[in-house]
């Protein structure tokens, strides 16, 4: 570690892609800038490795930004930088429509994602989080037949998430400014933060966008979205959940229950899907369920939060790398002339996700288990029983995914071939290498400990049996596909949210209102009046005509005189 490197350099390095994005917007230099995108995340990667721990406040920036480099942030920064680099390399090798534009938005999202790993204050985090989330919209709708539905789903959930987040962060921001919110407000703020980042990680009930967006986004962007940007939600939760605050403990059971339910729900709905990327989306929903469980455990007691943070970080990194590799691999397999080889290579991240022995998944599951082991009371037993079952589900999902990829052509896919296969494969290969090696090379002590532990026979068995069982069930299902086929496609991608999204669309549809220039009525005909008064006689006019009559008027003079005299005589 180089101690003289100031902390803010990390943020500066993370924001390098911003300059690239700017270049992509300028007509003159956009083609040159586009070529720099694969290099844009490298400074951040270097910063993740080199910048020493520390924090610094940049007072003038937005509402004051705190740059923070710590182990958690470093892990996420490294993860994101790796995924973005691989995704950018892959994108450079594949043709997309309007490449400069794609590169611009891609870099902008990258900048946001990398920068948010370097800040720890609510407003600063929100700034980069929003930069990432909103520019991703452009990536989601960039091309492809299903982009409109995907875009709508994505933006609706993102906007809701941003709004929830900012509200939740108000409480955090107030706390940072030295204002103690009341207990109710504090809990409400925590709930809002949970919901907001829950959307990003597709937590149960907030997952509706994920299948649609994952399906439509171009492969490289999808890899970044699923691998890195969703995982940023985990970082958000780690940064802003009030771990250690007794007030938040009340939420712990709900969070754990939600996570567990997501783990199963994702698996069950996922296996019925017919498109590989949708399966991956439901896999993400399921996998982030595990992370959610860990965080729920961490909320329960002040002492266990740090364990939960560690578990969530490791699991997040593991899942992110594997998922990104799956997305790129899915595209490689679809375009490759050597599909079996591609399928074989896809097996690595698939098994890793399933938690097979010797993979990063096995290590991550051990770290996770450390966290769930400290869950309070009955939850401890429940998690111990149910998480391996959920792992079976993950295996099933992976099997379903591989099956769909393998049989895709049979399903009539008409993906255009093109681009340079070798650089694309190389980019994917880099990611595969990261999947294979990351957790074994992780410098943190607890990870190394878990890695060592995963090689022991007991843990190999613990990791292996759900995979074996899952594979067996998959095989049975395949064999009995007449029966299991009935479940295929029963749930549409995005499941329960389809009607909600339609409603949102109607809400913002323009309504053709009456234009300004509509003649009100025909002009009143011009009439001349010798007396000069109005031509139309209404009540007021009739009375006035009466008053104007000579006899009335002079009588009124007399009446007034009498009235004044009468008033006088009273005295």
């Amino acid at each position: 570690m180089v101690s003289w490197l100031p902390t803010w350099v990390a943020l500066a390095a993370a924001l390098v892609p911003l300059a690239v994005a700017g270049g992509c917007a300028l007509p003159r230099v956009r083609d040159a800038a586009r070529r720099l995108v694969p290099l844009a995340a490298l400074p951040a990667l270097a910063a993740a490795v080199l910048v020493p721990e520390g924090s610094a406040a940049i007072g003038w920036l937005v509402t004051g930004v705190t740059v923070q480099v710590d182990d958690t942030g470093r892990a996420f920064l490294a993860l994101s930088a790796m995924i973005w680099t691989a995704a950018a390399l892959y994108a450079a090798a594949r043709p997309v429509e309007r490449p400069a534009r794609f590169a611009g938005w891609f870099s902008l999202a990258m900048a946001g994602n990398l920068a948010l790993c370097c800040v720890s204050d609510p407003a600063g985090f929100y700034t980069f989080f929003a930069m990432m989330a909103l520019s991703t919209y452009a990536l989601v709708v960039h091309e492809g037949p299903s982009r409109r539905d995907a875009g709508r789903a994505y933006i609706v959930f993102t906007v809701a998430g941003e709004a929830l987040l900012v509200c939740g962060l108000f409480v955090a921001g107030a706390a940072a400014a030295g204002i103690a919110p009341g207990t109710t407000l504090a809990v409400a703020g925590t709930v809002l933060v949970l919901l907001a980042f829950g959307i990003k990680i597709g937590a149960l009930g907030m997952h509706g966008w994920m299948p649609l967006a994952y399906r439509a986004t171009p492969p490289a962007a999808a890899a970044a979205l699923a691998g890195s940007m969703s995982t940023a939600g985990v970082l958000g939760l780690l940064r802003f959940l009030p771990g250690g605050d007794p007030a938040a403990a009340v939420l712990s059971p709900a969070v754990m229950a939600l996570g567990l339910a997501a783990a199963f729900y994702g698996a069950i709905v996922g296996v019925t899907q017919t498109q590989p990327r949708v399966v991956l989306a439901y896999s993400s929903i399921s996998q982030f369920g595990f992370v959610t469980v860990a965080l729920g455990v961490g909320l329960a007691e002040p002492g266990v939060w740090l364990i939960a943070v560690s578990a969530a970080t490791v699991y997040g990194v593991h899942h992110g790398l594997a998922k990104a590799a799956l997305f790129l691999g899915e595209d490689v397999a679809a375009r490759s002339r050597r599909r079996p080889a591609a399928l074989a290579a896809l097996g690595l991240p698939a098994f890793a996700l399933a938690g097979a022995p010797l993979t990063s998944g096995a290590v991550a599951k051990i770290v996770l288990k450390e966290a769930t082991a400290v869950a309070p009371g009955v939850w401890n037993d429940a998690l111990e029983t149910l998480l391996p079952v959920a792992a079976v589900g993950t295996t099933l999902l992976m099997a379903r995914f591989l099956y769909l990829v393998a049989t895709r052509e049979a399903a009539g896919s008409q993906e255009p071939a093109g681009g340079r296969d070798l650089p694309a494969a190389a980019a994917w290969g880099l990611l595969l290498a990261a999947v294979a090696g990351a957790l074994w090379l992780w410098p943190a002590e607890e990870v190394a400990y878990a890695a060592g532990k995963s090689l022991t026979a007991h843990y190999v068995w613990l990791a292996a049996w759900p995979v074996v069982l899952g594979t067996a069930i998959a095989a049975v299902a395949w064999a009995a596909r007449g029966l299991s086929g009935r479940f295929v496609g029963v749930v549409p991608p995005g499941d329960v949210y389809a009607p909600v999204l339609g409603w949102a669309a109607r809400l913002t549809a323009v309504r053709d209102e009456r234009p300004y220039a509509v003649p009100k009525a025909a002009a009143v005909p011009v009439a001349s009046s010798s007396t000069g008064g109005p031509t139309q006689l209404d009540g007021a006019g009739a009375i006035e005509n009466g008053l104007l009559a000579w006899a009335t008027a002079i009588s009124a003079v007399a009446a007034l005189t009498v009235l004044l005299l009468l008033l006088a005589s009273r005295v």
Partner: protein, 496 residues
Amino acid sequence: MGDWVTQQLPALLILVPFTAAPFAYLLGAGYDRQTALLSAALTQPLAAFLALTVVQEGPVRYAIGGWGGPLGIELAADGFSATMVLVTSVVGLLVTVYGLRYFGDLERYRFFWPLWLFLWGSLNALFLSADIFNLYVCLELVSMSAVALVGLTLRREALVAAMRYMLAAILGSLFYLLGVALFYGAFGSVDMATLRETVRPDVAGQAGLALMTAGLVLKTALFPLHFWLPPAHSNAASPVSAVLSALVVKGSFFILVRLWIDVAQPEAFPGASVVLGVLGSSAIVWGSVQALRQERLKMLVAYSTVAQIGYLFLLFPLASGGGQAASDAWVGGIFHAVSHALAKSAMFLAAGIVLARFGHDRLEGLGGLSRRAPVTAMAFGLAGVTMMGLPPSGGFIAKWQLIKASIGSGQWWWAVVVVAGGLLAAAYMFRVVGPFFAREAEDLDDSDLDPGPSPVTMDGAALALALGALVLGVAGQPLIDLIMVGAPALVAGVTP
């Protein structure tokens, strides 16, 4: 020399126009306008000088020919008188300037000049009179010249309007004279300074005051006795309308104020002042409602006068209690008279230009005025600011004072009337100003009749009057000082 002029000021203010009037008639075409201009140019500084003298040296009294009362004629000028003389001179000068080009040397308008000078002199005499019989004579002089001016155009509507005006005016004078007779019979004097000491609220005093009030109310066209005003003011030539609305109605109002606030104490006649206030309020509402209904510009402006006169009468109930509130009401009422005089004359002068340009004054046919005659439109609009009582304008200060007096004297309901009247005024003002900006109506008018851009003197006169009303809103303090000089005891309690 300076001293001599100072002493003779009240007399000079009457003599100059009265002397110029026959000259204007006798010299005839070609010289009448110059004569009028010369007279105006002399009278205006004299009025300003009088105001200055009054502010510096207090009220002025002057016995014509050295003959004092009871048989001789005495003139007196306190702050109120000087204010009215001053505003008359300002409006008069600008109307004269406006009239130079408006009437030109048209033969049938040649009587304007002598009549107008005569009217001016009569008004000055009225404002400077020290006794109530003299006021009767002045009232008649003012009425006769005003009636003649209304009939000046010899148009049928104008003649009928003049006749109606005339009968009402004579009748009003008779009521007034009867009251004067009763006063003299009961108190043995017509001199206001003497009456102030001797007047009692006995039967004769009550009856005399009631009769005088009725006659003056008729001549001021207070609702519901406004029947003669709209036809007379709208059918007269525009400079005449300006003078009538701005100054002539203020003449009889001036006497009312003298009688009620100065001579008789309103608390001696409690119900009556409330009646006047109620009628004033009704005038505000009714005049505005009628203005809203009008289809012709000058009718609308005339009804606006009916409404604005109403504010003046709020002075009576507001001042009746004395104290600070009375003082506020005094300033507010007179300030209103002044700013209304400036603004209303500006509006009629502008209306005159409109009539000339369009050949008619139907509201729906005035589209595009702001393009065709921007200065005219602006003069009208600025005058409207005062009419609505919006700041910064004299009208605002006046209403401000009136509202203050209402709340200060615990009679908040008059404040409601004042505010509502402002809103109604805004409503009818924008009925006029709105179409100025209209575009589609431009094609409607007959541009063959359009005499082209109006002369600078006409536009300038209208604009100057409107600006004057606005300036009062920010730099009105000297005028307020003037108004308070020698103010009646009832309202002089505390200097605001």
